[in-house]
């Protein structure tokens, strides 16, 4: 498939680029380790006071944390760098070359940057999930894994679409940094299952910043909580957000005028 080939080529070039900065790898491993340790200490503190949090046991919460790590890893490695570059290119009128290529513009602007070292967060997240599953001594069924995979995919699509909408606003708004900080603040709430939050915040985290679908739903898949209707809703939200993001991006593109040389 052509799309897969183009993505693979860009990923390869991205990795080649990152290999030039090996020091980044070590810093990233350190950062991931510190992030993980902080999160685990936080979790430990909570469970010195209680054993169950809104129906979630300690190992189950560990699953949530692991998935949060996986998501944040993907966001930081591919989604966020590409969207920041888009916003910057729009601001500086540097989108010209991307738009004169015979490839879908949205695809092209979404795969140009690969900060591969950031995937260490995702790997750490997977290890945490594995550890949690061992702790629970749960036997995970195949359909659970499939549902988990589907939920993660929906989550990634939802987060990507949300980011694209955010970055597309740069066709109108000049600075999107504050929006990005807002996103990161809200997304950090995804370390915990959304059911522990008050309903207004839960609504915000479900439909405005799709943290619930990105983190909590995949966690539900691994902890025997997921219902078919929730997964269908997650798929619907992912698809809907994607369509909205695509239309919005195209509208933004038609407003692009580029900085005059």
């Amino acid at each position: 498939m052509d799309v897969a080939r183009i993505i693979a080529t860009f990923a390869r070039i991205g990795i080649l680029n990152e290999l030039q900065y090996r020091a980044n790898f070590f810093f990233q491993v350190l950062e991931s380790a510190i992030g993980l340790a902080t999160a685990l200490i936080g979790l430990g503190l909570v469970f010195r006071h209680t054993t169950v949090l809104a129906g979630w046991t300690p190992p189950e919460l560990l699953v949530v944390m692991g998935i949060y790590g996986v998501m944040i890893g993907i966001v930081q490695a591919v989604i966020q760098p590409n969207m920041l570059r888009l916003a910057q290119d729009v601001l500086e009128g540097k989108l010209d070359y991307a738009l004169t290529k015979p490839v879908d513009a949205q695809l092209l602007i979404s795969i140009r940057e690969w900060q591969v070292w950031r995937f260490t967060n995702a790997i750490a997240g997977l290890l945490v999930i594995g550890w949690a599953l061992l702790w629970m001594q749960a036997s995970v069924r195949l359909e659970q894994i499939i549902a988990f995979g589907a939920a993660v995919l929906c989550g990634v699509i939802a987060i990507y679409s949300f980011w694209l909408i955010l970055a597309t606003t740069s066709f109108w708004v000049i600075q999107i940094e504050s929006l990005i900080n807002l996103f990161e603040g809200l997304f950090a709430a995804g370390r915990w299952p959304v059911s522990i939050y008050p309903s207004w915040l839960r609504a915000l985290l479900t439909f405005l910043v799709p943290v619930a679908f990105a983190v909590t739903v995949p966690a539900e898949a691994l902890t025997n909580r997921l219902t078919g209707s929730t997964l269908a809703l997650a798929a619907g939200v992912a698809l809907g957000l994607f369509v909205i993001a695509r239309l919005f991006f195209r509208w933004g593109l038609s407003r692009y005028s580029g900085a005059s040389a």
Partner: protein, 329 residues
């Protein structure tokens, strides 16, 4: 593609930008948060021309004349406010892949190559984007590397190349898909004279080999003189002149230079025209074009002339004058 179908057709092309505007100061800034005042900028106001396949056309005009805006409309980056542009029969703003495969855009002030990697890696990326068959890709790449004489430079990280070397790489990257129309926006910007000449020679050779249509903007008249038999002069968003370079000089040069060498000193030539230079017996005079024959005759009759030459002003001066005046005389 038949030679009788123009490569580029532009009819009454208009582009108007709306630019937010406000008075200086904090209060005005706050007010503009709520009520934005916009001013219309007429970047291009009714441009028309036709370019045949294989033509190399120079697009001239001062900064802000509308050159880049027109180029961007022809490459599909900007939607025209009104009017029509057709490139090989395609409407550029629709950005159809079949159209984009046939054109290329090179901007002297932008780069698309990966900064930290050798250009060869970036070329691979371009190969994937254009889905070029490997054999054809390699043949084109090696031909271009040969033509531009860059050899092993393609293996060095782009960041380690000089500005001129980098521009050569950009050009190779822009031509790997063998485009039939080249839009070159200031391709020699900032390059030294030798490098400008090399790029120029390359564009000429590429045009000769492939028959590609070339539309070029440049601040360097030498580029235009060397490459373009035809020039389109644009100013304040309108076409001022469209024709051969020589006709431009004819039409716009309002003055002639008379270089007079006298046989003996003592004569004063101030009465014949404006004295631009005076060195011993040699005078350089500037006279209005229409009066040049009469003044020449008078000089020969009234002064002890040993030698007399009539010169057209250099093209740079003519262009400068065109832009300064803005209307043909």
């Amino acid at each position: 593609m038949s030679a009788h179908i123009p490569a580029i057709i532009v009819r009454d092309l208009v582009k108007t930008y709306e630019v937010p505007e406000r008075d200086p100061g904090l209060l005005a800034a706050i007010r503009s948060l709520f009520r934005r005042r916009v001013r219309a900028i007429h970047a291009v106001s009714g441009v028309s021309f036709t370019i045949q396949p294989g033509e190399v056309v120079g697009f001239l005009g001062p900064n802000g004349a509308g050159k880049t805006t027109t180029l961007k409309m022809l490459t599909g980056l900007l939607h025209p406010t009104s009017g029509e542009a057709l490139v090989f029969g395609y409407v550029p703003a629709r950005r159809e892949p079949a159209f984009l495969r046939r054109i290329t855009l090179v901007m002297g002030n932008r780069n698309q190559l990966q900064w930290d990697l050798p250009a060869l890696d970036s070329f691979e990326l371009i190969r994937a984007i254009y889905r070029l068959p490997p054999a054809e890709f390699r043949a084109t790449r090696d031909e271009l590397i040969d033509l531009l004489e860059v050899g092993d430079l393609v293996r060095k990280p782009v960041r380690n190349l000089s500005l001129g070397e980098r521009m050569k790489m950009e050009i190779i990257g822009a031509l790997l898909h063998r485009p039939q129309a080249l839009f070159l926006d200031e391709p020699t910007l900032g390059l030294d004279v030798t490098m400008q000449r090399r790029i120029r020679a390359f564009v000429a050779e590429y045009n000769r080999r492939t028959g590609a249509t070339v539309l070029l903007t440049s601040h360097y008249m030498a580029d235009v003189e060397a490459l373009c038999r035809r020039v389109i002069v644009i100013h304040h968003g309108r076409v001022l002149f469209d024709g051969p370079l020589s006709a431009l000089v004819d039409q716009f040069a309002a003055y002639r230079k008379l270089i007079v060498t006298l046989a003996e000193s003592g004569a004063d030539l101030k009465g014949f025209g404006e004295v631009l230079a005076h060195d011993g017996l040699r005078y350089t005079l500037r006279v209005p074009k229409a009066m040049a024959p009469a003044i020449t005759a008078r000089l020969l009759a009234e002064a002890p002339v040993a030698d007399l030459m009539v010169e057209e002003p250099p093209i740079d001066d003519v262009i400068e004058q065109v832009f300064a005046v803005g209307t043909p005389r």
